[in-house]
Symmetry: C2
Subunit: 455 residues, 2 copies
Amino acid sequence: MPVPLPVLRCLIRMGIAQRLPSIRRFLGEGVHFLHYLSDAVLAAPNSEIASLDSLLVKQHSSCIDLSIGTPNPAGLQMHLEPIVSGFGDIEKHLFSGYPPASGIPELRQTFSNQLKHDQQLDYDPEKELLITNGVCQSITTALETFINRGDKVVLFDPSFMFYQYAVRCQGARVNWVPTFRIDGELFFEDIALKKAMRGASIIIINHPSNPTGGYFSDHSLQKIVYWAKRFDSLIFSDEVYHRFLYNGRKFHSIAAIPEARTRTLIANSLSKSYSMAGLRVGYLASNENLIRPLKSQQFLRVPFVSSLSQHLAIRCIENADPNLLIDHNELNRNRLQTYQCLQEMGLHEDLPAGAFYFWIDIGNFCSDAMTFCHNLLDENQLLVMPGTDFGPSGKTHVRISYSTDNHTLTRGLDRLSQFLVARDRPADSEISRRDTRHLSETHPIRRMIGSPTGS
Amino acid sequence: MPVPLPVLRCLIRMGIAQRLPSIRRFLGEGVHFLHYLSDAVLAAPNSEIASLDSLLVKQHSSCIDLSIGTPNPAGLQMHLEPIVSGFGDIEKHLFSGYPPASGIPELRQTFSNQLKHDQQLDYDPEKELLITNGVCQSITTALETFINRGDKVVLFDPSFMFYQYAVRCQGARVNWVPTFRIDGELFFEDIALKKAMRGASIIIINHPSNPTGGYFSDHSLQKIVYWAKRFDSLIFSDEVYHRFLYNGRKFHSIAAIPEARTRTLIANSLSKSYSMAGLRVGYLASNENLIRPLKSQQFLRVPFVSSLSQHLAIRCIENADPNLLIDHNELNRNRLQTYQCLQEMGLHEDLPAGAFYFWIDIGNFCSDAMTFCHNLLDENQLLVMPGTDFGPSGKTHVRISYSTDNHTLTRGLDRLSQFLVARDRPADSEISRRDTRHLSETHPIRRMIGSPTGS
């Protein structure tokens, strides 16, 4: 339970705040530097990050990491040649001075072509696209541009934790909408969405979803657009997993719905589709009247994206087939294998339709996801992501990523199984195994994964 | 004169704000998107940027650009080889996943070594260094971390315009301290500094200075530290021009003063020293208790710097001699030639000691720097930077950069001369020329360049 900001400011003036455990955890020996810190720092989710960090810091070389979602690039030697060949003119990019504030025109054109080719969406590369340092900057810039302190932002529970962090950094509030999945599809209750959307400035959607792997049907997207229009909210659509849908399912962007076009910001990057998170190249696409202030805010805060990265991004998109760069067949095998293993542990009843995560309810084993993750790392050297900061439902969930190579994944799942067996819970009982063994993608148990109450 | 934010909010609610010229200039056809914008956007210096943009947009291929400060790299073919050779292992950097939030350890070590080697400063690479997307992110992150709405930030007049923009974006106020130069050294009045520092959270210094090229003596630096300590303010020291001092002068960082060490943030980058503005790699160095919250804020806003850029930065710093990469002798020749030419135009009486700019009073020709620049661009196709946003003194000053190649510089100065001759002002009179001809670096006219009043 964080201390409210006005109270904290008061405690700082009285010289007492330095004794708060949350402050000591955040500042360590530096508590006497507390009075320098801005309200933005004090309101930031520092405790949450410190808590997560206390887990991540324990990782060592014999650990297996299933916490991070970066796809394993396939056939490197084969597919790198067209990307890097000719990059010997590197000095052109090294000494090219400051790149244009909106991004290099050729890259904006490339992304515009990609949106047209992949999703039949038309965005003017000159006025409707802004190159960013990845989706994180896209989120931060969007919230800075459209959100004030005290405003409301709608998030689906669970959602990628960075959204919640970013909203809180702006001093804004989250209205959660619980979701559940059937056959990998994400559902929400209309009444919950309506209630959350009332008076909200932005709704952030992300499908296929991190962490559930679920996707929204066209019908659900239309409902979101309806309420966004009704309450005049903007829609931030994080589409970084748009290539990661299995069994021939096709991704549909919310921006394809005509009523959504003017109020939607599409965010995407090369971090997942091309497995190039280190490039830090993403974009925002929207109508020019929203892009203009976004561009201006970005210029005034953290302007420019590495021109080297931008030129390499152009080369990647133009010369490398992302379907060859990422082995989607292997990912799908990993998905089915993880599903099978989790079934055998009695852990997961729904097969995710996309992305590369499983969102696992560990409530039967431990009432706190962070404790579960610490124990799992300490006892079996396996790191998975605690769901704690993904939303109200996250306290009893962990996220496993299967984007790693199959060998690592197999060993990781073995360790998870050993850990659960040692706990001697229903997981390894015959009943539980029989209950779940019949489940498949076509015969799923309908299971609510979101918190029934929201916030 | 910008409309105060509460008034603007009121006008927006009344539906009148859309008719304001400043709003129309900023949003164009998109005025009906005004109600989506956050206070941060409304408080940002949008008019100033739109005004500057209306100048820059007029530039075309036959223009000469003396507005931008990116040094002309020398001997590319000779010095690039050690930088890029072996970068064929590019896939290691392309597919390396998310880089560490504080930056790649080897790069932090490299910068730490550089601080030690160049300036005898000790910074722990693990705890006291943070890699940033260039100095702009360093400024933004520092202000977000240490400044609240309504706080005061001290800037010297004139100062690089981005500081003022960044302060205003935070809703903070600038206390200006006028400066003047003698022999290229920057001076200020003690009483003005003391008055400005009272109650200020941060003072931002930048020497050698953009735009004046002036430097602070150790004595002046000590005075700044004295008042910063007295009023418990932090010191942000932008040292990107630290290699650009002429005539054997040696750069001294304010952080070298023992009392300043704990309260100073050093910012630097590869944009000037290595002429690699496109890399977007910079750093912040400070004591660990200030770096910790800075790191946390950066992670929550715009995390990660391109790992490709970071690896290339390591290679540059370790293998390339910045004194060979930038031809400082040529820069010095450019400096003396520009000085001579400006003298002949009756324009500049003080020879800058560092950086690569001349800060020129054009008050005799035009009462408004922006108008002067528009006319110069329209009539003689020469682009120089209007001083308008550099501080109160900037309204009658322009900045010329001599970091370009000598041929372009010579042609640019010719155009400036033609422009002034056509204006038939004292510039080309015999008296003026005689007045200034005797001036040299050792016999300067003592000229106030800052506003006598400040704010």
